[in-house]
């Protein structure tokens, strides 16, 4: 989308139309916001094999679940209507796709003082494309952001009686208020169609003479154009690329993948997100987009990107993952191997944003992230690394954490996470220096990290083995059934870790008080996601809680991520 040359594109921001009762219009750049084209809905989750015992959650639905919706609901949220055909906001999660429209200066006193038959009209001017928005009355009396942070206000905001739909505004259309229909000057709105233009407020008298006019430029784009989507490939049967490329699918016709221009400001920051296991391509993007939105609402104004790597996907649960030919471990192997691609990306990013690159990885994404930061050597390429629900042995960082009893599933493979690769050696990530700061977001009761233990217990995998004796400290790992191939360190480290070597510890994301890189002085750099105010719990949905539910429930997570990153602006 082209913008008039005289307009500068401002960072993402909300719109405040300032009404100036003079001939001087507000000179502003163009505000950018995303179109509300996702599918935020309540749905059943984590049902058992009989489809019973379901949990309930608000999520951004994917194609399979959208297809199960009633026909009238199979539309993006910007077109969502209830059974009566009334345009409504589907759920409180959808509110993170709304911004405020605040007509500062248009007070009830001002409206009362206007001549009889005066009108207040919103319209578009200077349009390119089809900029279209939907307007709703705001629940927040003071025009604040309570609809994003407060349960009660959000509930009111999604109540179509209390906060009615005002109307849709596209090019050539107008939303007009009279002195009697005017309620207040606070609204919330979401994007419906792509395009740019000047949202214009015109106050006219009964003879259509303009008394005052002001405008604010808005660009409505696909959210995929607001962040960089890097990929190392999405097919788990293929090895990951070593150099990431920009993803191209899912963009609007004629749209090109977003790649940021070099930053002009040396303080520009970049947050990179790395997803976990069992994510289809669209899910990888949706989680990234949720992270982007929730960081935005925390006031993050820097740049954002995601890195996709080829995880297996489509598994309905742990058994499915195991039954499908140890696909979890194929994914883990890919995760280790994806580290090179991530490091290459981080190196490039750090060259562009020196010392201002922040990394967040979820679940198995922490295998990719941890290994990349190890491969970085002595030079940090990341300012702060947030390990979220990390599905990687805690002993990779700290072999003094809790010893895990494998019981009858013990295969006696040597501990090569805590001691790499002989028994007297330090842990695998000993001295890791790819990030200056490390923070562990952990939940001891995490669902997925519970069966991560059983996955470790099943090692060596089918087609792999270890031929030592119990207590024998030998690296006699091998691949194959009849004609076996020996596997050795360091050449086959990734394969041994993914398929052969049992972790005799808990996952990083389920282990409190992990030392090593996560300890500074006597302080463990960690956030307890089981505790208040997070309470991520022990259910399946809790493993990805930060990407699920609504913004207000997950506010504290993202707030403390910003604090951990030192990116929250201090007063």
């Amino acid at each position: 989308m082209k913008l008039p040359k005289q307009r500068s594109r401002l960072p993402l921001a909300e719109i405040f139309i300032f009404l100036l009762l003079s001939a001087t219009f507000l000179q502003a750049g163009s505000y950018v916001f995303w179109v509300n084209n996702d599918y935020d809905r309540w749905h059943d989750v984590d049902c058992n094999v009989l489809g019973l015992n379901c949990d309930h959650e608000q999520d951004d639905l994917g194609p399979t679940e959208i297809a199960k919706l009633p026909a009238y609901q199979r539309v993006p949220d910007c077109n969502y209507v209830n059974a009566s055909g009334q345009r409504v906001i589907p759920c409180t999660r959808d509110l993170e796709d709304f911004a405020r429209l605040w007509m500062a200066g248009v007070t009830s006193n001002l409206v009362a003082a206007l001549p009889a038959n005066s009108t207040l009209t919103l319209s578009w001017t200077d349009c390119e494309g089809e900029p279209t928005i939907d307007l709703f009355a705001a629940a927040d009396q003071d025009g604040g952001t309570g609809y994003l942070t407060d349960d009660a206000i959000a509930a009111k905001q999604t109540n179509s009686v209390l906060c009615p739909y005002i109307g849709r505004l596209g090019p050539g259309q107008q939303i007009q208020f009279t002195k009697t229909t005017w309620r207040n000057s606070q609204f919330i709105w979401c994007g419906v169609k792509y395009g740019g233009g000047a949202l214009t407020l015109t106050i006219a008298d009964g003879n259509t003479n303009t008394l005052a006019q002001t405008k604010s430029y808005i660009d409505l784009v696909d959210i995929k154009q607001l962040y960089e989507r890097w990929t190392l490939g999405d097919n788990a049967r293929l090895a990951p690329r070593t150099v990431p490329v920009l993803a191209v699918e899912g963009l609007g016709v004629g749209a090109s993948p977003t790649q940021f221009t070099p930053p002009q400001d040396t303080n520009t920051t970049y947050i990179l997100y790395v997803h976990g296991w069992n994510m289809q391509t669209w899910e990888k993007d949706r989680f990234a987009e949720t992270a982007f939105k929730r960081l935005y609402w925390q006031g993050y104004q820097g740049r954002f990107g995601s890195l996709r790597w080829p995880t297996g996907n489509g598994f309905s649960g742990p058994i499915s993952a195991v039954f499908d030919a140890h696909n979890y471990d194929i994914s883990e192997s890919n995760a280790w191997a994806s580290a090179t691609g991530l490091l290459n990306l981080l190196t490039n990013l750090n060259a562009q944003y020196p010392g201002k690159v922040y990394l967040m990885a979820h679940s198995m994404g922490n295998v990719v992230a941890g290994e990349a930061l190890r491969l970085a050597g002595a030079t940090p390429v990341v300012n702060t690394y947030a390990a979220m629900q990390g599905a990687i042995p805690a002993w990779c960082y700290d072999p003094t954490t809790t010893n895990r009893d494998l019981g009858s599933y013990e295969s006696y493979t040597p501990d090569r996470y805590g001691h790499y690769w002989t028994s007297n050696s330090p842990c695998y990530f000993n001295g890791i220096a790819g990030a200056a700061h490390f923070v562990n977001f952990q939940n001891e009761f995490d669902y997925a990290l519970s069966w991560w233990q059983s996955d470790q217990n099943m090692k060596p995998d089918l087609g792999y083995g270890w031929s030592g004796f119990p207590g024998q400290d030998v690296n006699s790992f091998y691949r194959g059934y009849v004609l076996t191939t020996p596997l050795g360190f360091p050449t086959n480290t990734y394969e041994i870790f993914a398929y052969c070597d049992e972790a005799h510890c808990f996952a990083l994301g389920a282990q409190p008080n992990v030392g090593g890189a996560f300890k500074v002085g006597s302080a463990f750099q960690q956030i307890d996601l089981a505790g208040s105010p997070y309470v991520f719990g022990s259910a399946h949905k809790g493993h990805s809680a930060q990407f699920r539910s609504d913004n207000m429930l997950r506010w504290y997570f993202w707030e403390h991520l910003m604090l951990a990153y030192n990116l929250m602006r201090a007063q």
Binding site: P460, S476, G537, N566, A570
Partner: protein, 360 residues
Amino acid sequence: MKRSLLYVLLAAVLIGALVLLLQRGKHRTENDASSPAAAPEQSATNQPPPTPRASAVNPAAPPGTAQSAVPAQPHPAMTPSPTNREQLTEQFTRDMLQRNVTISFWGKVLDQNDQPVPSANVVLAARQWTSAAPNSLDATHEKRELTTDSEGRFELLGASGDVLNLESVQKPGYRLSDKTQRAFAYAKSATIFQPDPQNPVIIRMWKLGPAEPLVSTRTLFGFQPDGRPYTLDLLAKKKTEGENQTGDLVIKFNRSQITGTREPYTWGLEISAIGGGVQETTNEQTFLAPPSGYQPKVTIQMNQEQPNWAPSLTKDFYISTRNGTVFAAVHMEIQADYSGQSAIFVQARANQNSSRNLQP
């Protein structure tokens, strides 16, 4: 004769293959695990050819060089037979189901005056792993509702699972502490909870009184750690440099030079109350400021040599300021190094009507 020899050799090969097959993968018993070595120990100097994926890894090469042209390659052949997958699935399921243990829990609900809270509704849910059908594994969270007795006690017996969640504790006119532990691990966790009927888990609820208007603050304040004073106005949610008369707290941060991201450094701060005092608290619920016990200032000092040195601290305080017209509960997340400065994330509830009532 030759044909017989061939048969014998063939049978020997088949038996050998069978032995290797049984030895493959997971050794489920100690005896199995102690089978003779099938492959020699590998060392760095005697390595097999790298796998295709390993060969694609070359972190030293910069982006845009030849490695970016390395095509994606298929995995090594690793597909197991269906029979083995079934066995693996069965073992995996059995291992997960072994997480379920008998769950007992004893709790006691007390109010802010250590008085029992009878007739409180307690909802607990144990995470239990189940396999309702072949190739299925689910975790259920069946809820159990209990009611506290006249001593505020409740007990859960005979549940099964690996984690017990305290879903809710409710009683009209009471508010559960935000710091209540919400989950307890009974099996296969880094920390195992040990239930004890003689020492029930104490759960705090605040007996609510009449609410009063409070000013809430949730703000990150930054400080130059050079000893200069800053005034925090919790009512206006603002920070100004210097010691001002209007405000609640004066903060002075000090910090020595930071020589490395992991190197300890000396830091400290002084928190003074304007027209009143400050006192640290470990109360679980800070809903009523104490009438006395305030000091003009509190000093926090962290010397780089001390064994428990940390770059950050979390503290809770009550403060009385503005000559007794303001009482507040202040939660501080203190970071000695925050983007080159020092910072405190302040969450406060202030009553500006000379009342100690800080109940939200």
